[in-house]
Amino acid sequence: MSAITRDEVAHLARLSRLALTDDELDHYATQLDAIIESVAKVAEVAAEDVPPSSHALPLTNVFRADEVRQSLTPEQALSGAPAVEDDRFRVPRILGEEA
């Protein structure tokens, strides 16, 4: 039995905002199935009573003083933008036709 179906991969691609072709979906479905089957080995470690680690170091809530500092100018911030209008990022429409 496969760990992941082609439909599930198509769903993951949508969630990941990746417009994949049918060929790509077939290809990734096979590969992801093999990878998931392999990484499922983590289940073999008895770790029920072990706390999870999200991080290697015991750091919590590192804050800086709330002070105004020098930052990028609008020109610098927009320097890599695909499209600019009136000192702002110009983006495609974000609402559907029905909105």
């Binding site: 990941s16 417009a19 790509e24 590192v62 933008a81 495609p92």
Partner: protein, 496 residues
């Protein structure tokens, strides 16, 4: 001996003494790059005028009496994942083709301040995801020892550039082995500092709880000098460690292992390991014993599950980090014809801009984090991470450092594992545990495998902020082996 064969320490001393200018040193390396780059393809970006401008500025600072560090005037190549305000930064991805960052990474900035001159930006697996540099959108880098072999990855451009004498020093990043593995397969030194010991600010993020900048060099002392030059607390990185930098340069100069307790990790060897790799590793262990170290075998049974845990944790973090490539603020935008929605443009751009390995990992991470699978995959992987950290801790009660081969095999042929992700992932088998635990680890050359004549690396692992121990042991190994070989291992490499 020509300038390109000098060590970084020698070049720094020569520049400081006024025997040679930073411009002359930079020119010698730029000429070498021009000469061998058609064969090696280590660089994504070289700009002679920008480099020489930086070198002239360093010469001027020295002439005006400014006190710079021991590496002032020494050239360096940066992995193209550190932002540079005067050179493009692409992460070897189409999605960032030609991007000019408006700011410097902390690593880049500190090294400029110390007077190092940037030769260019080096090739890598796209967004540092890979072990061979074949996942670059701009073509693979080749191993200077054998141009048909991979130079390791993800920092393969940086390892190849140093091994090919294009640069005396380079930077890399190590998320699962991306500094140590390329160093091992190209016969040079590569160090993964303690997590948080080097700043991630301005480093394009792959897996934030694992990403660690570190040095490449042709010898242990040069690596330590570079390590010291960019390390230390950075307020711009909230996971930066606020502690003194371990005395790595002193340790590299000492290189004494008498009385040191060294643990051989039992689980790293046997099936799947190339005989020539194991032979050189066992010799290195015997050598350490002959130098006065006390060697014992240590068992860390969960280290074999580090690989699957890593391939859940790293993709999960990557799927979140790479969401920023949304075609809105920087980088590529595809399909914005006035009729498509932002979401459609985003999906078209990401499909066109990311390569296959990046897409695989984003989807794998999205899967591991999705409801219904989270506990079994990402949650369980985080628990395994705790178990591995505890096994390291227990081991360090018995020994001062742990050792293993850096990689199970020497450099493999370009193309051999390119479409077999699971085979590719095995290259990082021995390096990943240190990333999960945030520990320090180094790779130092320990000889050539009999089967193929390619370099083998010895990995030395030490606890958090025990970076100096890595350098101490590596320097001892280097000194003893170089006196046996009559010089550095790299002199065995064929001429390019």
């Amino acid at each position: 001996m020509s300038l390109i064969q000098k060590t970084a320490a020698e070049l720094g001393a020569m520049v400081a003494a006024g025997e040679v200018s930073a411009v002359e040193v930079a020119e010698a390396h730029l000429d070498r790059i021009a000469e061998v780059e058609p064969k090696v393809n280590a660089f994504l970006h070289v700009d002679r005028e920008v480099t020489l401008g930086q070198a002239r500025a360093v010469d001027e600072r020295l002439r005006s009496g400014e006190r710079l560090g021991p590496l002032a005037g020494v050239p360096i190549a940066h992995k193209d994942i550190f932002t540079t305000h005067d050179m493009p930064t692409t992460a070897a991805s189409r999605i960032l083709e030609g991007w000019r960052p408006p700011y410097d990474a902390t690593v880049t900035r500190r090294l400029r301040e110390a007077g190092l001159v940037i030769l260019g930006k080096t090739n890598l697996d796209e967004f540092a995801m890979g072990s061979s540099t074949e996942n670059s959108a701009y073509g693979p880098t080749r191993n200077p020892w054998d141009l048909n072999k991979i130079p390791g990855g993800s920092s393969g451009g940086s390892s190849a550039a140093v091994a090919a004498y294009q640069a005396p020093l380079s930077t890399g990043t190590d998320t699962g082995g991306s500094i140590r593995q390329p160093a091992a397969v190209t016969g040079i030194v590569g160090m993964k500092p303690t997590y948080g010991g080097s700043s991630r600010y301005g480093l394009i993020a792959f897996a934030s709880s694992l990403d660690t900048p570190g040095p490449f060099a042709r010898n242990v002392l040069d690596a330590a000098l570079l390590h010291e030059a960019f390390s230390g607390h950075d307020p711009l990185d909230s996971t930066s460690v606020d502690a003194p930098v371990p005395s790595v340069v002193e340790a590299a100069r000492q290189g004494d292992v008498a009385g040191l307790r060294i643990g051989v990790v039992k689980e790293f060897g046997g099936d799947g390991y190339q005989p020539g790799v194991l032979a050189r590793f066992n010799e290195a262990v015997a050598l350490l014993e002959s130098l006065g170290a006390k060697v014992v075998e240590v068992s860390c049974p969960s280290f074999v599950t580090a690989l699957p845990a890593y391939y859940l944790i790293a993709p999960s973090e990557c799927s979140s980090n790479l969401a920023r490539f949304d075609a809105m603020r920087y980088g590529l935008r595809v399909g914005d014809d006035g009729t498509r929605s932002a979401e459609e443009v985003m999906a078209l751009t990401r499909a066109a801009g990311f390569g296959p390995e990046v897409k695989r990992r984003i989807m794998l991470g999205t899967y591991a984090l999705s409801s219904g699978y989270y506990d079994a995959y990402y949650g369980q992987a985080q628990k395994v991470r705790t178990v591995i950290a505890r096994e390291f801790e227990a081991a360090y009660h018995q020994v001062d450092v742990l050792v293993s081969p850096t990689t199970p095999t020497t450099a493999f042929p370009i193309g051999e594992r390119a479409d077999d992700p699971m085979a590719m992932y095995l290259a990082d088998l021995c390096t990943i545990p240190s990333n999960l635990a945030g520990n320090a680890a180094i790779s130092v050359p320990c000889g050539l495998a009999d089967e193929d004549g390619l370099p083998v690396g010895l990995q030395i692992m030490a606890p958090v902020l025990g970076d100096d121990r890595c350098y101490r042991v590596a320097a001892a190994v280097e000194k003893a082996l170089e006196s046996r070989w009559g010089g550095p291992l790299l002199k065995e490499a064929p001429a390019l």
